[in-house]
């Protein structure tokens, strides 16, 4: 981008037409002095300068003016499309062209001269609130609804007049209800006690615990008299309601975060539940299977970005099977070349797989670099759903939770309902008897190990969506994985589920009281004590296989 606007948008003709329009408009402006703008171009210049207070004053005035020009400038500020020119004038980017913010006519500027008008967070919040206030007048109910949402998240007393006006005019009953609540937030200090009373009740009905802080002064009024007593009692009742809402949100929030952490642990541990739990291989390279799955996701994501950016949001559809297959292949190779020689020798297996783990980590470092790589969530996994006013469940956590249960479901189906699963269970429970019935046990060993590795790859694919992907990824999960499997009981899939979910819930229940560091220590102590008392874990296999 070197030289801009007219050349890009059109040609000399377009330029001439633009000039004509400008001239025409100027003529009208001269002819009709009544349309004089409330804000002078000189005032607007402050936006392009560095003085914070002056900028704030301009935003304030724009919010107060509330005319089409103000809305245009605020919108440009909000969307980061307002630019300053060296002479101090401003230009709004509209597509590839630039317009004068006051007249909305195209202007010619050099892109090199432009510097974006920057806002601090405080001003950005003001601009968003002011813009939402103005948009309350929009004819489009969708725009109005979004504006109301925006105002709820940052209530701003300066837009009260727009809220009041919109409240009188609103015809959509749902939107009207929310506008009433919005109005209530600004009307708590209203001189009319009737208004205050109404506002307090509306706030109580909204059930948003965030509003407790603005109710509290009313509920604790000391020398109330007359109508104020009514307001105070109503405020106390509303506060009580909101306290209950907060309590509910806390409980639900803890339960959800616990389950969500549990699902992460479950995904990390599930592969291990098969390779260690069923086959009995102490696989220290399990973390690196997660790593392979995560890096596969990264590569698939990059391929999508490079070759079909339009379908970027669907890259997990390819990444999930790719992660499974590649990791399963890695597992198969590892089993055939190394682990099969070491069955029945747990110590040597431990050392050998530990070596493999170091090898794979270094390989990742060599191929992808020591730095973490960037795995972006598809857009449908960003943000969250608001189930209660103060409780948002992030989509990525929900997806991971569902994915964890889907993987568990499929795994248990394969183990319990397919011939391969039957063979795996037969071989792991009684190898010789299984061989006698004609099962080729070495093949089953290889398949089972590859399957377990593949499931770990699925875990890695999921973990890449919530955490960091780097060469050390496996190391962060290996301990947790063994903990979940051992706690749940070796040899049982359901044990691992309860182990992982239990660990997740305990950590999250403890964390608010003791902090993340102490909670983690406590969980470790708890597991040590638990294993002392019940070495077989939560769910032990019954029968002869235990001794085998």
């Amino acid at each position: 981008m070197t030289e801009i606007t007219a050349r890009k948008t059109g040609n000399a003709l377009g330029r001439r037409v633009g000039l004509l329009f400008t001239a025409l408009w100027m003529g009208i402006a001269v002819l009709s002095p009544n349309t004089a703008r409330a804000i002078a171009p000189d005032q607007l210049k402050a936006l392009g300068e560095d003085d914070y207070d002056a900028k704030a004053a301009v935003v304030e005035q724009l919010a107060d003016d509330g005319d089409a020009t103000a809305e245009r400038v605020l919108k440009a500020l909000h969307d980061d499309t307002l630019f300053a020119l060296p002479d101090g004038s401003l230009a709004v980017q509209v597509g590839d062209a630039y317009h004068d913010p006051l007249t909305d006519q195209a202007v010619q500027v050099k892109a090199d001269d432009l510097s974006q008008v920057s806002l601090s967070n405080v001003l950005r919040a003001r601009v968003a609130a002011a813009l939402a206030g103005l948009q309350l007048r929009s004819a489009d109910p969708g725009v109005r609804s979004r504006a109301v949402d925006a105002l709820f998240s940052r209530p701003d007393p300066t837009v009260r007049k727009y809220v009041e006006a919109a409240r009188q005019k609103e015809t959509d009953s749902r939107l009207k209800g929310r506008l009433d609540q919005l109005w209530a937030m600004t009307a708590l200090q209203d001189p009319d006690p009737q208004h205050r009373l109404e506002a307090v009740q509306l706030i109580g009905d909204r059930g948003d615990p965030q509003l407790r802080s603005i109710l509290r002064p009313l509920a604790t009024m000391d020398n109330a008299s007359g109508d104020d007593v009514k307001v105070r009692d109503a405020a106390q009742a509303a506060l009580h309601k909101l306290d209950r809402a907060q309590f509910l949100a806390d409980m639900a929030g803890t339960a959800f975060t616990g389950l969500s952490l549990g699902s992460v642990l479950l995904l990390a541990a599930l592969g291990l539940a098969i390779t260690y739990g069923l086959i009995g291989v102490i696989n220290m390279a399990h973390g690196e299977f997660l790593l392979i799955g995560a890096y596969t996701t990264y590569v698939v994501q990059n391929l999508f970005r490079a070759y079909c950016p339009g379908a970027f949001d669907f890259y997990p559809v390819v990444a999930v099977p790719a992660a499974f297959l590649l990791t399963a292949l890695a597992g198969l190779v590892l089993e055939r070349t190394l682990i099969r020689w070491l069955y029945g020798r747990p110590l040597e297996t431990l050392l050998a797989t530990f070596g493999i783990s170091l090898l794979l980590m270094q390989a990742a470092r060599t191929v992808f670099g020591a730095q973490n790589v960037q795995v972006e969530n598809p857009s449908w996994m960003q943000g969250g759903i608001s189930v209660l006013p103060s409780l948002i469940l992030p989509y990525n956590r929900l997806v991971i939770l569902a994915f964890a249960f889907a993987v568990v479901g499929v795994t248990s189906l394969i183990l319990n309902r397919t011939r391969l699963g039957l063979y795996i269970r037969a071989v792991t429970q009684n190898r010789r008897m299984a061989a006698c019935t004609g099962i080729v046990t070495w093949k089953i060993d290889a398949y089972a190990f590859a399957f377990g590795a593949g499931v770990a790859g699925l875990g890695g694919c999921a973990l890449s969506q919530i955490g960091n992907v780097g060469p050390d990824l496996g190391q962060t999960y290996i301990i947790d994985s063994f903990m979940a499997v051992v706690l749940g009981g070796v040899g049982q899939l359901s044990g691992t589920i309860f182990g992982a979910m239990g660990l997740g819930l305990i950590s999250k229940v403890l964390e608010p009281f003791w902090g993340a560091v102490l909670a983690k220590i406590f969980v470790l102590i708890f597991i040590i004590l638990f294993i002392q008392k019940r070495p077989q874990g939560l769910f032990a296999l019954k029968g002869r296989s235990v001794e085998a």
């Binding site: 914070y52 920057s118 601090s120 967070n121 405080v122 950005r124 919040a125 968003a128 998240s153 940052r154 615990p209 965030q210 407790r212 802080s213 907060q246 806390d250 929030g253 803890t254 975060t257 969500s260 952490l261 992460v264 670099g369 020591a370 730095q371 973490n372 790589v373 960037q374 795995v375 972006e376 969530n377 960003q382 943000g383 969250g384 608001s386 103060s390 948002i392 992030p394 989509y395 990525n396 956590r397 919530i466 955490g467 960091n468 780097g470 050390d472 962060t476 950590s507 999250k508 964390e511 608010p512 902090g515 993340a516 560091v517 983690k520």
Partner: protein, 441 residues
């Protein structure tokens, strides 16, 4: 250990011999021999991510100096060692640099623990270390020049900004950090500072997480609840890759920078390079330099950097960035060069004296001066994270600020010396035991 020390002993003996036998010839021989300097940065292990760039920028600066004629007509020869993110190895490697390679100065270290581990070696052998990273203060060694920020040059101005109406007039503060010395000391200073500003303990929350913690759900929910009671700002000293899940969780739970801003002290351009910046946009970081600064010195610095990256075919290519510690390294090397030229010698004691008061026009757009307390005067800037992983500066100090390595907000620091004591033989004989305690003049 004994084995490792042997060469050092031999070398020390040999050098003593050399000194007694022939001071004059060696001085003549040195006249046009290259000056050796050490680069002590981890090139492998966990810290390699951050420290490799510092080694690169140091080599770039030495190349630049050599191209323009070297120091006093002598070329500089950097000796690069790799302490591999292993703290005791830092001490061994620095002993090797000082005793065997006889380097005139060492540029290195990142974490506070690595600096603490080499400090006794530098004090024992009277070496010169240039430390380029922001740190928690509480230290002032005559053998170290600190070119990164002290707490009053980074943390405290950032909090002052958050309290100001421009920064959002925050009333409540949520301090969150990784559980080790830098965050804990910084937060101790900040808490005392907030008290001095009239903020009550009930309006301050302090939370720590382990290294590479990945699950910030509960903490973000707590921040939300904390923010209900008044305008809140989060001050993050989270270090390393935990930042990614932290910011992701903030974004997913709908905490925006416009309502609850997060200001970080350990998130810079290099850290943002490996991550999806979308959830971070609008959040703040406090540094003394940003790559996005527009001034001729910085333009030249960046140009030189990218030319160096291209010429040496460094990994990352044109995606490489410059950041605050790199700038501090660059400034430190240039100041050392000026000091050597002023002293007319690379002798540690003479250079140390000449360093005080050195001025250098730095890429941050200011002329920085080395103070008698061995810390640089530095400007403070607050930057806002942009979608491209760069920062736009939203606030900065009008002039560089003098460092206070002994924070007045930590009890017991009253009356600690304001500048590094001049050289006295007693200090040398005191050896490592005196490493932490400054000598009162």
């Amino acid at each position: 250990m004994n084995l490792l020390r042997t060469p050092a002993v031999i070398c020390t003996a040999a050098s003593l011999l050399a000194v007694t036998l022939g001071t004059v010839p060696s001085a003549v021989a040195q006249a046009d021999a290259p000056i050796k300097v050490g680069i002590l940065h981890s090139l492998s292990g966990t810290m390699a991510i951050s420290e490799t760039s510092l080694k690169d920028v140091a080599e770039m600066t030495f190349e630049e100096i050599n191209r323009s004629g070297g120091v006093m007509g002598r070329k500089i020869e950097p000796v690069v060692v790799d302490p591999a993110s292993n703290w005791p190895l830092f001490a061994e490697k620095s002993r090797q640099l000082l005793a065997n390679d006889k380097v005139a100065a060492v540029f290195g270290c990142w974490t506070s623990v690595s600096r603490k581990s080499v400090l006794p070696v530098f004090e024992e052998l009277n070496g010169l270390l240039f430390y380029p990273v922001q740190y928690e203060g509480e230290e002032m060694s005559r053998n170290v020049f600190y070119t990164g920020a002290a707490p009053n040059q980074q943390a405290i101005p950032a909090v002052e900004y958050l309290i100001s109406s421009e920064g959002g007039a925050a009333k409540r503060f949520f301090l969150i950090g990784t559980d080790y010395v830098y965050p804990r000391t910084t937060n101790k200073i900040l808490r005392a500072f907030l008290h001095s500003k009239g903020v009550q303990d009930s309006d301050i929350a302090e939370v720590y997480t382990p290294f590479s913690h990945g699950d910030y759900q509960t903490i973000v929910a707590d921040i939300k609840k904390f923010a209900q009671a008044g305008k809140t700002a989060v001050i993050s000293t989270i270090n390393g890759d935990s930042n990614v899940p932290f910011y992701k969780e903030l974004g997913n739970q709908g905490l925006k920078a416009t309502s609850v801003p997060v200001v970080a002290f350990s998130v810079g351009e290099e850290e943002l390079r490996g991550i999806d910046t979308k959830p971070l946009v609008g959040h703040l970081a406090s540094w003394n330099y940003f790559m996005s600064l527009k001034n001729p010195t910085n333009d030249a610095f960046k140009k030189e950097w990218f030319a160096f990256v291209a010429a040496h075919n460094l990994s990352g290519g044109d995606k490489r960035v410059t950041n605050d510690p790199m700038e501090a390294t660059y400034v430190g090397i240039h100041m050392w060069k000026q000091a050597v030229e002023k002293a007319g010698s690379t002798d540690v004691d003479k250079v140390r004296e000449a360093m005080i008061g050195q001025k250098f026009k730095a890429p941050d757009g200011f002329v920085l001066e080395m103070d008698a307390n061995h810390h640089l005067h530095k400007p403070v800037m607050i930057g806002e994270i942009r979608p491209d992983g760069q920062f736009s500066v939203v606030w900065k100090t009008k002039a560089p600020i003098r460092a206070q390595p002994w924070s007045p907000f930590i009890p017991g620091n009253e009356g600690k010396p304001d500048k590094v004591a001049a050289w006295t033989p007693e200090i040398l004989s005191g050896g490592p035991a005196l490493a932490m305690a400054p000598v009162v003049h």
